[in-house]
């Protein structure tokens, strides 16, 4: 089917999905959960084809790791479905109902966005996660997975359509795009008449290309150059614990620490101690000139390092003379993702919170907490650093929008 045709069909289906009862939506998800249990062998054997192809193509080991579906990944997928079933349905909520001077009762009703195109790489579990979140929030989804995961994605997608059919719903509710023909994808990115939102999840190059080609709004984050600022008034022991967690707990994630900023007045007490801890955990430091004076034998940070998202056990370290310099540095080199301050000073904590407009700003806590589950959203469709609609982790509510509703008894415009 042509992109315009797929998009039109799914837009038509979206009117039905928008008004499904929560019970019905949960029933589909329970059925899918069940089908995954019953088809574990099928999923894993289809996944093996992708793994084999990836190995033959000489793909990086870390990519193959992400591609892999084993019993643990199956359980995680099912547990995500359970989470989504357990979350309240955001659709239909009415807020801000109030009477205007002319007696018109005006409010806002939460409704689905409509049709969402999700573009992702590697991890085939996104096929199930994205579908669950879209269905529960009343949206239709077009799923464009990576070509390296095509067998796994088709297998999971078959179970999804079966779960829809078993509950009497149209297969147009969700579409899987398996082609890797660029011109086809580019045409899909222009269907702004039918597709309401694109969420790309993947590397910076993929996302930039989507933004460049699309006429549809895109919510995305390019990268997470996350900072921790260890203030003049920091509790040094606390700073060490937070920085270590932010850097090493899972270094390949977007909310891991990439640049450490240290107030010059605590640098001589904090840095040697911290450097030792990092060294014990295999973290390689790259320091500014002042850092090199205090911590010996580490590499010098170049200008480009301050922009770097290492996604690895590497960390840039800079000594700043005050908070002004820390804030300026973050504004210049940061990616609006996650910043934290370690301080015991009230004014500095509030200033940092107010003046840095990243998607999450923390006081005395790890940057690794920027995550839908950790922040209480219950589930997550990714993190947006786009300063529009949803800024930060996107949960079910962030996959909806509000329309105005008005109850009148003959109100006119005078």
């Amino acid at each position: 089917m042509k992109p315009a045709e797929i998009a039109k069909n799914i837009k038509d289906a979206s009117h039905i999905v928008a008004h499904l009862d929560s019970e019905k939506k949960n029933k589909v998800l329970y059925t899918l959960h069940d089908l995954i249990s019953k088809n574990t062998d099928y999923i894993i054997s289809e996944n093996k084809k992708d793994i084999l192809n990836a190995e033959n193509a000489g793909l990086q080991k870390s990519l193959i790791e992400r591609l892999k579906i084993d019993g643990k990944v199956i359980k995680e997928m099912q547990s995500s479905i359970e989470d989504v079933i357990g979350l309240p349905d955001p659709v239909g909520e009415v807020t801000k109902l109030s009477k205007r001077p002319n007696g018109l009762l005006v409010g806002k009703m939460r409704v689905p966005i409509g049709v969402i195109l999700i573009i992702y790489e590697s991890r085939p579990n996104v096929t199930v996660d994205a579908f669950s979140l879209c269905l529960k929030s009343g949206n239709c989804a077009i799923l464009k997975g990576g070509s390296e995961a095509v067998h796994s994605n088709i297998a999971l997608f078959n179970l999804i359509t079966e779960s829809l059919q078993r509950e009497g719903l149209s297969e147009d509710v969700v579409k899987l795009v398996t082609t890797s023909d660029r011109s086809y994808i580019y045409e899909l990115l222009k269907q702004d008449e039918y597709i309401d939102l694109i969420i790309p999840r993947g590397g910076e190059a993929l996302i930039k290309n989507v933004v460049e080609q699309s006429t549809i709004p895109v919510l995305k984050h390019y990268k997470g150059v996350c900072h921790i600022y260890v203030d003049e008034w920091a509790d040094i022991e606390l700073a060490c614990r937070i920085c270590l967690n932010a850097k090493v707990q899972k270094p390949a994630t977007c909310n891991a620490l990439e640049t450490l900023l240290v107030h010059e007045s605590v640098a001589r007490t904090f840095l040697p101690h911290m450097a030792k801890i990092f060294s014990d955990h295999g973290v390689a430091l790259k320091g500014c000139d002042k850092t090199l004076e205090i911590v010996k034998g580490i590499e010098k940070a170049e200008e480009t390092d301050w922009y770097e998202e290492y996604l690895d056990l590497v960390l840039s370290v800079k000594i700043v003379k005050d908070m002004d310099e820390a804030i300026s540095h973050i504004r210049k080199y940061g990616s609006d993702h996650t910043e934290a301050i370690v301080t015991k000073n009230y004014d500095n904590a509030w200033r940092f919170l107010r003046e840095l407009n990243s998607s999450l700003v923390l006081v005395n806590a790890s940057t690794r907490l920027n995550d839908g589950y950790q922040l209480g959203l219950g589930a997550e469709m990714g993190i947006s650093t786009t300063r529009l609609h949803a800024f930060g982790p996107m949960g079910l509510e962030e996959l909806t929008v509000t329309k105005f509703i008005a109850f009148g008894n003959g109100q006119l415009r005078e």
Copy 2:
């Protein structure tokens, strides 16, 4: 200055504007209000140059009318500034603060979007309105007015920069783009690193072009094909009053009625009466076949008429056999702008409200009420039919976004 340079400078300035106190922002607006009073002659004489050019170029009379600044328009601009001064500052509000199981206190803080590019035609008062709304919501604005209003826009912009300077603020807080060089504008539309949002206000062709060229999210509405459905259970007298108001009170606006849908069981009582009223008010009707049987001597509506935004005293009329047909018609031909039902039936009212996801859905009231002032937003930057971020009229709050904030005492990711 090159587009990238303008955009970068204004992004830098946006960090300052984001944290201005409400008092300071109001002071700038008071000063601007005052400067407009003192420079009325200057504004009107600059505007006369635009009018003269427009007349010499043979522009449409209605366009020249929109271009014109007289004492009344000056007063309206000042009254809009007063409205914005009187509105609460949305920036800094903290909501949804709650404690996570690990003791982390998580909330959302309202912050400005950042840099907003507003593209508009004709009406030079938008220069002042858009600036006031952006400043009060802590945003920086790039204003791209129509070339036909260039003298008027420059005059108003000079007063804006003077008001900023008098309050000690950088002139980078707001920029006016006066060139009509397309390649320059297209380059501006690609500055997604610095510009966060584009709001185009103008004709469909202008907006389509912006969407096509931009890599920045665009909030817009193409057109307003607004419907009223007169239900089987409508109060006929009320339906007549509402339909008349929606069509004739200001036919050239986006929220004016364009297509009237009538349940077949009330068509014979309602339509002859309504047609007489419309005829008395100079409204030309275009009817479906069934309508032509009841109302004699009117034109037949063609397929293309159902998509039409007449912006004039013309109205399409269709008789439908039930609400299903009305809803299907609106979904197919509508523009997600404004729909109203006239009914005394509870179930039908709720079904219409729930199943039509346009930016405003009304029961027993005029479509002309889709407006920021009428719905209680206090001011308006235009209406969005983009199903993202702000769906419907955009007020001050819709020019902001929320970031997550978290107060911790050593929380880590386990």
